[in-house]
Amino acid sequence: MIPRGVDRAVVGGTSALGVAILAACVVLADSPPLVYLRLALVALAVSAAFVLDDAATAAVDAVPRTRRRRTADRLLAVAVPLTVWGVGIAVFQLRTPATPAAGLLVEGAGALTVAVAAAAVLRWAGRAEPGEIAATVVGGTMLALIVFDLPSWWPVPLFPRDAGWPASTALWSGLGVASAVVVVLASADPYRPSRPVGMRSAHVPWLAWSGGDTEPDGDGRSSPGSSPRWWVCRR
């Protein structure tokens, strides 16, 4: 299930920690222990943050496969923490029907997407292995929000306990969609030309002097063996 190239030890290990916390919640708690469920979510978000890590980026960037497509392949690994979260919440709701399952599912999906988006932005900024920093930023923020209450003037609770679930669900939905858009945008190939294949290149005078490839379907570059003639023309 985890694609090749993804660090299975990290994704599997942190997901296993999430499984352990969720299982303990299901076995031991009679009422929804939201703090522990969210600790499990931190572990799962850490797992998602490492999905885009690629130590061989320099080599892989040269293969004829777009970064977006490679990102899509890697995102299959996010299914592991997402499935753990979904199954955990579903089992917990079976045991304790008072669990706000829909809100928690949206919250989990949103948190995982935010973690992937943070990693995608860092990768776009040039980091081949953005997982450590993305996990620290997202996980640290989540831990802080679990330990401390938000200021009283803050309108929407991020991790609600009793009240505020609809607003929180709306917020996490928005964050999730925005993060997904960020992942798509930040996964564009930095080296690939934006013009479609077959479009004629702009007129460049020195290519004409050199006698390079200026055919309508050409790419504007000189063909092999004909390159250094421009100085002959100029002389």
């Binding site: 660090d7 030890a9 990290v10 290990g13 942190t14 920690l17 916390i21 703090v35 522990y36 600790l39 931190v42 572990a43 850490v46 797992s47 943050a49 490492f50 890590d53 292995e129 997982g131 450590e132 996990a135 620290t136 996980g139 640290g140 831990l143 802080a144 679990i146 330990v147 401390f148 200021p151």
Partner: protein, 284 residues
């Protein structure tokens, strides 16, 4: 060549001092540590006019901002040299010395925690705060446990960084620390008993005041704050020793294992003495 061969090696203490100074500067420049300090200043501004009899529970701020975040910093700094192991191995300082230097650098967040807690105490004394059921000595012990937590988190991070190899281990360690603390303190909703005090005080960070569900009656939980302080100090020693054991070899490794066992025994005794105190809850 002769001059180089003839030069005496620097004593271990001097090397340790130099390394500790270098690591302390790296710590002080780490973005997460600076973020924690900024959060502490923000917190101080926020609670300035809001100090009541439960003011000592605000020590959770340094415990998280430089303690838990320090666990991430400690883990990252410890692992930061893992990619240059060959070069580092050639340096005239072994792994135990380098780990000890990192452990000494954990005094940087400890100093910040001490500064913040001192400010909190002075501010609370300067304000007309209501009388507390906690004696002044117990209040100081409770506040100092916040300082110890701001050293203990980083030491735990150094230990995790030494013993684990996978990325993200620091955050997993932080989750474990917070989970342990929340699990222990959940016994505050149970009736007062020595068993519940044991569950609460075995955590590295314990809350001492709580209230009933309707927040009408605030009370002080049972147990001895000073013995719990001794317990968490011993936990810090355990974390530092466990971090150093990883790199030690031969007789030094055996000695560190022996120290580890002794510290563990002392920690159990300190925890037992902390729990042995009267478990009755006193209204604040």
């Amino acid at each position: 060549m002769t001059a180089v061969a003839g030069r005496r090696a620097a004593p271990a203490e001097a090397t340790l001092r130099t390394l500790a100074w270098v690591e302390a500067r790296r710590w002080a420049r780490h973005p997460l540590f600076l973020l924690g300090c900024a959060l502490l200043i923000w917190g101080a501004v926020g609670i300035w006019n809001n100090l009541d009899a439960t003011f000592n529970e605000f020590r959770v701020a340094p415990a998280f901002c430089v303690g838990v975040l320090g666990a991430l910093v400690g883990c990252q700094l410890t692992r930061s040299m893992s990619r240059s192991t060959d070069a580092v191995a050639a340096a005239p300082a072994d792994g135990v010395l380098r780990t000890a230097a990192l452990c000494l650098a954990c005094l940087v967040p400890g100093a910040v925690g001490l500064l913040w807690v001192t400010w909190l105490y002075v501010a609370a004394m300067a304000m007309p705060t209501p009388q507390s059921a906690l004696s002044t000595a117990d209040q100081i012990a409770v506040l100092l446990s916040g300082v110890v937590a701001s050293v203990g988190g980083p030491l735990f991070g150094v230990m995790v960084g030494r013993w684990t190899r996978f990325p993200g281990a620091g955050l997993v360690g932080a989750v474990v620390l917070i989970g342990w603390t929340i699990l222990g303190n959940s016994s505050l909703i149970q009736p007062a008993s020595r068993l519940n005090d044991l569950v609460r005080l075995n955590a590295p960070y314990a809350f001492w005041t709580s209230s009933d569900n309707d927040h009408s009656h605030i009370w002080v939980a049972g147990g001895s704050p000073w013995w719990h302080l001794a317990y968490v100090v011993l936990l810090c020693g355990l974390a530092a020793t466990a971090a150093m054991v990883h790199e030690a070899v031969g007789a030094r490794r055996s000695r560190l294992w022996r120290i580890l066992a002794e510290l563990a025994g002392l920690a159990v005794v300190a925890l037992a003495l902390a729990v042995a105190a009267d478990p009755t809850r006193v209204p604040l």
